[in-house]
Structures are given as C-alpha cells and as structure tokens.
C-alpha cells in the first residue's frame, strides 16, 4: 500500500485540468470554459486554440464571471469556470451563493492556485479561506483533489452531476498518490483509504495527502500504525469513514493547506464532537496572514510538512499513554 509512494516525479494539477477539459469538450458540445483573463494561468491556451468560441473570457470581472456562467448553465451549457481561487471565491462569493448554489445552476467552479500556491505574492493572493466560505454554502459540493488523476476524475464527475460544485485545482507540485492516471471514478462523500494502521488516523486533503503518507511511512518503522484517508470530498464529508477511524484508532489528525477556521478540520471535529468525541490535532494555517516566502517555505513555516504531521501523531500517542 505504501511501498511505492515516494515517486520522483511531481505534478502541477493545472496540466491535468487543461488536458481533461479538452478531452471532455471534444466529447460533449455542452462544455465551455469561462475565465477572467486567466487563460494562461489556468492552462487554457490550448483549449482556446482548439475551441475559440467555447472559451469565454469576461475580462477581469469575477462577479460577472460567475453570473455569466450561471446564465450559460441556464441555457443548457456546462461551464467550467476557471479563475485564481482567492478572486473566484472572495470577490464572487455572493454570486457563488445566489447565482450558482441557491439557483442550483450546473456550474463547475475551478479554483486555480489555491492555498499558499502564490507564495511570495502574499496574502492578497493566498486562498486559505476558500474552503471555509464554500463549506458554508448550501447545495454546493466542495472537492479538493490530491493530484492529477483525482483532479481529472473530479472533473469527469462534475460533468454528470447536475448541481454546482467547487473544485480546488492545485498548483504546488505533488507526487501522484492515485493508483493510476486513467479511469478512476470519483465518488463524492467517499474517502480514499491510502494506508492501514490502528494507532492514529490522518485525514488529509490536496497537497497534504502525499505528506501524510510520508509521515505514516516514517512512523511505521517505529511500529506506529497510521491510517491515512484522502478526504477529497469535504462537502459531502465521508462521515462513516470519520466515525470508523474514531472507533478504530486512538486519535485523528486533520491536515489541510487552508485556515483552520472552518475547513476540513472543522468539518471532522463537528462530526466527532457530537457523535464520538475523539482526541484530535487540527493542522492548517492559523488565523493569521502569512509572512513573505515561497510556498515550500510557508508550508514549513506553518508546520504543514511531514515533520509537522509526525509531531501531531506523536502528541496523540503520548496523550493516549497517560
């Protein structure tokens, strides 16, 4: 299960996003791409060249971006709305709530370069609040794929799901953690069980999944069994997998490249506090604007790395021993 985890190659999910969108568009004339001037940063240049009429660019106007997309959905098209995650979710938050979610429009909101991906560009360009904001909106599916294969699978699922969804498209390079690049079916509300262990469970999303697996591998050599779940579907959450973990292991660590005020950790804690109180460590970004630094630096700065996850697991083991 964990033997082949450390692959030398790492991937920016935007390549998978662009390739999958082309492949979907070739098969289905309803699919269009909508962006806010972000053709290059969304990796949509090839799409624009092959489907010039189906590449709708509303310019730097995010409110219009989401509203126009709801209108495209109204006439039976399936818009993949692509913009930098901080601007898509922050500037157009009310459009996402009203025009997409409340109106139940079939729009696929693709948040590019989420989390700390924009590193040195600073907190204006960081998208660490998006998961909290999106989770709070009814009728909106919220997905955080862990790598290229899962990104593609989530996009294929989104074409067939008639409602609105938000998909985080990672930019920070990650190793592939899915079993294969093709044919994987995405099932919302279903966690992927990536590593076995009976001591502690780590529930991870996005860029943190590969790091959670490395932490599990390191602790296995010390005889500590770590279960690793990839909870790519935050809304709906795999409640059963969370409860199983709380019954079968001694504690739960959640880890996300997002603020701890309202994302994955909060979702898991809400289930556990009411159903089966369980010791937890919630790893993420504290309620603070990040200092200057590139993504790798900032992830280390906030302890969102293998060492940080190992430390949290040890804390839970120690607490259990008391």
């Amino acid at each position: 299960m964990t033997g082949s985890l450390v692959k030398p190659a790492t991937y920016d999910c935007r390549q998978a996003f662009g390739d999958e969108l082309m492949s979907l568009a070739r098969a289905d004339p309803r699919i269009v791409a909508v962006c806010n001037a972000s053709v290059g940063s969304s990796n949509l240049v090839a799409f624009r060249d092959e489907f010039p009429d189906r590449m709708i660019n509303v310019g730097i106007a995010e409110q219009d971006l989401v509203g126009v997309s709801a209108g495209l959905a109204n006439v039976g098209l399936i818009p993949f709305v692509s913009a930098a995650a901080p601007f898509l979710t922050g500037r157009a938050l009310e459009q996402i709530k009203v025009d997409a979610a409340y109106s139940r429009a079939h729009v696929v909101l693709c948040g590019q370069s989420p989390g700390l991906a924009y590193g040195e560009l600073g907190p204006t360009h960081h998208s660490i609040e998006d998961l909290s904001w999106m989770r709070a909106i009814a009728d909106l599916t919220v997905l955080v794929p862990a790598g290229p294969a899962q990104t593609r699978a989530a996009m294929r699922w989104a074409v067939h799901n008639p409602g609105p969804c938000y998909i985080r498209i990672g930019r920070f390079p990650v190793p592939e953690t899915s079993p294969s690049n093709g044919g994987v079916e995405f099932v919302p509300g279903k966690a992927l069980w990536l590593a076995d262990g009976d001591d502690v469970t780590v529930i991870a999303i996005g860029t943190m999944v590969s790091r959670a697996l490395l932490a599990a591998e390191r602790l296995r050599t010390e005889g500590i069994g770590v279960r690793v779940l990839n909870m790519a579907s935050i809304e709906p959450l795999d409640v059963q997998a969370v409860l199983d973990a709380s019954h079968q292991t001694k504690g739960i660590v959640t880890v996300e490249e997002a603020t701890v005020t309202g994302g994955l950790g909060s979702a898991v804690a809400t289930v556990l506090a009411q159903e089966h109180p369980t010791p937890m460590r919630i790893l993420g970004i504290p309620r603070r604007f990040a200092p200057t630094g590139n993504t790798e630096f900032l992830l280390d700065y906030f302890g969102l790395n293998t060492d940080g996850i190992v430390h949290a697991i040890r804390q839970l083991m120690a607490a259990d021993g008391r």
Binding site: V58, G71, L72, L77, E94, V98, D99, Y102, S103
Partner: protein, 292 residues
C-alpha cells in the same frame, strides 16, 4: 415546484396567438394584465404586511407588456429549450413578478394568497427552484444582469434563436457588477439581449440623484456600446416599440421613465412607498382607484 394552471395557461396562449392572427387589441390585453397585476400585488402586500409596493407598481407596465405581447413563452413548458428568458434583476419586486406569472397561468392565482407565508414557494425574493417562470434567483442587487448576459451568449453558442430580457432597477445601476455585465454584452455584441431600466428615480430612503448620481444615464449606456431607447415606461405603445429587436447589431437598453407607486395617487413618486406597507384603508382606497 408549483404546478401550472392549465386552463389559464391555455387561455393565455390562445390570446397571444389571437393578437397575431386576428389583430385582437394588443394594447387592451396589456392594459388588462397590468391592471390585474397591480390589484393582486396590492392584495398580496396587504395580506403579507411586507413587500416593495412602490417598485412593484412602477415595473408593472414593463412586465405586463413583455408577458402579454413580447416574450415567446408557454407557461405549460416553463423550461422549454428555446423559450425567451426574462430575468427580474430587481428581485425585491417579486410581488409584481409573481402576480404576472400567475395571471399568465404559470401557477394558480390562488397561490398568490400564500405570498411570504411560512413555507410558501413565494418568498420575498424569487426562487427558480420553486417557482416556474423564474430563471435565476435574485434579491441582492446586481445579480440578474450578468446571468442574462450568460443566457444570451449561451443561446447564441447553442444556435437557439430566442431573446433575453433583464429588468433592472435604476438604483441598482449603482452596483459595479452591472457595469461589468454591460461591458461583456457589448463586447460580445449580444444583439438578442434587451436590458430594461425601471427609471423611477427613487431608491430606498432618497432620490437616486441625491444618493449617488446616475445621470447622464443614457450617455453612460451609449458609451458602454449599447443601443439606447429612452421612453415613457407607462406608455404601452412606446414600450412595445422599444422592445422591438435590435437592428444595430448591438444590445438594446430601454430606459423606461416610470413613477414609483404608479396608479395609486397617494403613493406616486413618494420615497416612503419603497417598502412601506399600506394599512387596510389605504389598500381599499388603492384598489378603488385602480378599479375605476
């Protein structure tokens, strides 16, 4: 989702076809629909003890003209692929929209009695998930126009030959998102799109020009690349002429000069009737005046 009123819908369609075939007096049909809408709306707001009576009465003639004589729609098939789309961006005037839809047969007129009551489909702002004929949910201002732009653009991409209308409040033109949409529509030369501004010159609390100046409004639209038609928004002949399709290749903006509270003399052009609720005597007086 509310059920269609089949007999009223059939009568509505027969009357619409009648205008075309037998030159039935179109203006009379619009006037009659507008009268019913105003009367129902007053009753709804009186019962619910909430609503936006002033703006409902200013937009009533615009909606009645569109539904009675312009839109290609069939209340029996509210989701037909090639229907014309009408979006009420000034969603707080849901009362006028509900009354119009009901009198066209999209759902039962009796349903209007439930307006704003617990668990009614007829919320204070329109919800497309529950109310047939509503294209997108509006309420916060500056939302309907971008959605209408998407409808017009999407219809062109799909090869659907229909028209899209969006009805905006004038105060709503203070929202930046509307000007984003205005730029997008002219950039894409969406000549099947008509934006109607209900120019009643009042918004909550004050005149638009005192709150944040809109004038020169026509110049603004022209500079954004629109074909602008400024008319009396209570004159049915002018409304009909203004709603004729674009011949310029550009989207059309109709600035409809209206009176807030139109039809009820003690409400007309008075700022307090933005969302003041008439008492039973005032409702009675208003109904008497509209029925005369």
């Amino acid at each position: 989702m509310l059920a269609v009123d089949s007999s009223r819908a059939a009568a509505f369609i027969a009357a619409r076809n009648g205008h075309a075939r037998e030159a039935i007096d179109t203006i009379a049909a619009i006037r009659e629909l507008a009268r019913k809408v105003r009367l129902s709306d007053l009753t709804m707001i009186g019962n619910a003890k909430l609503g936006h009576i002033g703006g409902d009465l200013s937009v009533a003639d615009i909606l009645a003209t569109l539904y009675a004589a312009v839109l290609t729609i069939d209340p029996r098939e509210p989701l037909a692929d090639d229907r014309d789309r009408l979006i009420l961006s000034k969603g707080h005037c849901a009362g006028a929209l509900y009354a119009t839809l009901a009198h066209c047969g999209f759902f039962s007129v009796k349903e209007l009695d439930t307006f704003a009551q617990p668990l009614s489909a007829l919320n204070g702002h329109p919800n497309r998930v529950e109310v047939p004929g509503v294209e997108t949910n509006t309420g916060p201002l500056g939302h309907g126009f971008p959605v209408a732009v998407g409808c017009a653009l999407g219809a062109r991409l799909r090869g659907i030959t229909n028209r899209t209308f969006v009805v905006l409040g004038d105060g709503e033109m203070q929202e930046g998102s509307n000007w984003e949409a205005a730029m997008t529509a002219s950039h894409y030369q969406l000549d099947t799109l008509t934006a109607v501004v209900d120019r009643n010159r009042l918004q909550q609390g004050a005149r638009t020009e005192e709150t944040k100046q809109l004038e020169p409004l026509q110049d603004k639209w022209v500079s954004f690349g629109w074909d602008v038609r400024e008319i009396d928004g209570h004159d049915y002949e002018q409304l009909l002429a203004a709603f004729a399709p674009s011949t310029s290749g550009r989207p059309v903006c109709v600035i409809a000069n209206t009176l807030k509270g139109k039809g009820v003399s003690f409400m007309e052009d008075r700022v307090e009737w933005h969302h003041k609720v008439p008492n039973p005597e005032q409702i009675e007086d208003a109904i008497r005046e509209l029925s005369a």
